[in-house]
């Protein structure tokens, strides 16, 4: 379908597609098997100017908005959902600075992220605070004009490889979610170390580790936004970043669909290509329809967000819908792709089993799909109440 992309957006798609097809496709299995960090690929992505798409030009980004970011993430994810996450995960870690950073913070951190010299990570989740972010235990206590952080974050994408970390901690335990504050930290700060690396089902090119803070002293000027504003910073970041996960999911689904069509045309049974069978045709038709519907929802949500990113909360519902629908589609489409491949689909010889493993996480992180449904329902209730229904 023609989405009437601008010339610049089409360039982004073309560039990302070439990187994905020419540079990532030949080596994706290697990163899946070894779980090494794909620095070599990130260098290509940086050199192509795709790291700073959503960062303002005054901080050396392209100022091209969220839609441009998700176009790039989608193309990369068609080939490797894990490598796509290195880009999307950096965007997640950077968005608090884009949305709430002071000019000094932006000047200090954004240019290197835009140039691909540093990656970023987002530290919200804790062992006992997943969907329930308010149950956070990491504390930040103000002492001598600096905050002292103590606690552990878990499941942090890009941890260990990133230079810049936006981290959330409790500054006032009596105030619940209004007592949270966002900080920007740098790798190598005394008292800031990394814990165990998770062994995951999928997205294995993307590292997931713990962040450990032991009396980590963070200067006051590293507060992102204001003290106590952390929950709002986190929420607005997630409204803007969920399209990134959606794009990753959509890319995985699109990649699996392409593989399934190509395989069904080649694979012969009963003396003919299996794509001649209506059973296969109908599966492919459903998969293609779901992918296209997911793409429509996501692209239009991004167009809305790009109109005025400071009012991203207006798109909280659509952002959640995009993440929910794209990730559910990714799971369904990859499962069906494996089915079409039959026994070969279950084998690591073919790429669809990896796609199915990679797809699962998109239903879980950056808010489980159950949490997305809560978000959508909450918006429906608010809308109805506003209309006095």
């Amino acid at each position: 379908m023609d989405y009437f992309l601008t010339e610049e957006q089409q360039m982004i798609v073309d560039i990302a597609r070439r990187i994905a097809q020419e540079k990532i496709k030949p080596i994706r299995e290697h990163y899946d098997e070894t779980e090494e960090f794909p620095w070599e690929i990130l260098k290509e992505i940086a050199q192509a100017d795709l790291c700073g798409l959503y960062i303002e030009p005054e901080y050396e980004g392209m100022g091209a908005g969220i839609l441009s970011l998700i176009l790039a993430v989608e193309e990369i994810a068609k080939v490797d959902g894990g490598i796509a996450l290195c880009v999307a995960g950096t965007a997640l870690g950077t968005l608090p600075l884009v949305l709430y950073g002071s000019p000094e913070q932006k000047k200090k951190y954004l240019p290197n992220i835009a140039k691909g010299k540093s990656l970023a990570a987002f530290g919200l989740t804790e062992p006992m605070a997943g969907s329930d972010a308010g149950a956070m235990k990491t504390t930040a206590v103000l002492k001598n004009n600096a905050y002292v952080l103590n606690g552990t974050k878990c499941f942090i994408t890009n941890a260990g490889e990133a230079e810049v970390y936006t981290v959330f901690a409790v500054t006032n335990p009596t105030k619940g979610i209004r007592g949270l504050t966002c900080f920007v930290l740098e790798k190598g700060m005394p008292g800031f170390t990394f814990g165990k690396k998770e062994k995951k089902m999928g997205i294995r090119a993307s590292p997931t580790r713990e962040l450990i803070f032991q009396d980590c002293v963070v200067p006051k000027e590293n507060v992102v936004g204001r003290e106590g504003q952390g929950f709002i910073v986190a929420m607005k970041t997630l409204f803007s970043s969920r399209p990134g996960v959606a794009a990753q999911a959509l890319g995985i689904a699109g990649g699996a669909l392409d593989e399934a069509i190509a395989y069904a045309r080649k694979r012969e049974q009963f003396g003919q290509p299996i794509i001649n069978f209506q059973a296969i045709q109908h599966m492919l038709a459903d998969m293609a329809t779901e992918v296209e519907a997911a793409r429509c929802l996501l692209y239009f949500t991004c167009k809305g967000i790009d109109k005025d990113m400071s009012k991203v909360e207006k798109f909280a519902k659509e952002s959640a819908m995009s993440k929910l629908f794209c990730s559910d589609t990714a799971m369904k489409v990859t499962t069906n792709a494996v089915q079409i491949f039959g026994g070969y689909g279950y084998s690591r010889e073919y790429p669809v089993e990896k796609m199915m493993r990679d797809a699962k996480i998109t239903q879980i992180y950056e808010g489980t799909n159950q949490v997305q449904r809560n978000e959508i329902a909450l918006a429906l209730i608010k809308e109805a109440a506003a209309k006095g229904l």
Partner: protein, 261 residues
């Protein structure tokens, strides 16, 4: 270092189709790309510029649509691009092409190094690079697989040979043609693509490069393609299977049949 890279726009196919009546390439319905070997030449030019400073200029001779190839080179990071286009250039063989490119290079204020791909994938002659060097009366080395040293005094290059490589010093200005072993070409960047769209491509005609009209195009081409054909595909060899004794017997029998023994 002021670097010129000579490029050619070619059809994107390894299976070049020839019109049997005119003996020319069939271009209809085939996408045009930068000759793949020239991408290595552009990449090497850009890497030298990154090390030693200066500029990289791409030049191509061709029909107006060859401008697209030059814009693609700008997307990769090239500073300037020159399109040599004139009806008088049409039908040029490698001699006339070398002359035309050499005249264009002479028009540039300063050129230290000229880089070409080892050959174009459509014509496959590998003659134009060396031809340009001869017309300019400067030294050249073809089939370069590595530049060991490049500074104001000259170049040290490794030439790929069938039985190893030659290490050759040559002074500036000079010309080299490169093989694909020399580097891995970069992909275009977003800023590059945006720049390529806005860039002004210089266009020169025969008059602009002060060329002798008799040495251009068909008129300046002493060679003409009479016939183009694909060589018959080579048949695979025969595999002699079985126990060693049987194999030996069969082999001797075959050799006798062929009257080798």
């Amino acid at each position: 270092m002021e670097i010129v890279v000579l490029i050619k726009q070619v059809p994107e196919t390894t299976d070049v189709k020839i019109n049997p009546e005119t003996n020319t390439l069939v271009r209809e319905g085939v996408k045009s790309i930068i000759n793949p070997f020239d991408e290595y030449a552009i990449e090497e030019g850009l890497r030298l510029r990154e090390r030693a400073g200066g500029t990289v200029t791409t030049i191509t001779m061709g029909p107006p649509q060859a401008e697209q190839a030059l814009r693609e080179s700008i997307a990769l990071g090239v500073n300037n691009a020159v399109l040599l286009t004139d009806r008088a250039f049409a039908g040029a063989d490698t001699l006339a092409t070398s002359y035309t490119l050499a005249m264009a290079i002479k028009k540039l204020p300063k050129v230290d190094l000229i880089i070409c791909g080892k050959q174009a994938v459509d014509g496959d002659t590998a003659q134009v690079g060396p031809g340009v060097a001869e017309k300019l009366d400067i030294p050249h080395v073809s089939y370069v697989r590595k530049i060991d040293k490049a500074d104001a005094t000259g170049l040290t290059v490794e030439r790929m040979m069938e039985d190893g490589s030659d290490i050759i010093d040559l002074p500036l200005p000079c010309l080299i043609t490169v093989v694909k072993e020399i580097n891995t070409p970069r992909l275009p960047s977003l800023k590059g693509k945006i720049a390529a769209k806005k860039a002004v491509v210089t266009k020169w005609t025969a008059a602009d490069i002060l060329a002798d009209i008799k040495k251009l195009g068909m008129a300046g081409s002493p060679t003409q393609v009479k016939k183009v054909f694909s060589p018959p595909p080579r048949k695979g060899g025969e595999n002699i299977c079985g126990e060693p004794e049987e194999q030996a017997k069969l082999l001797v029998q075959k050799l006798k049949e062929l009257q080798v023994i």
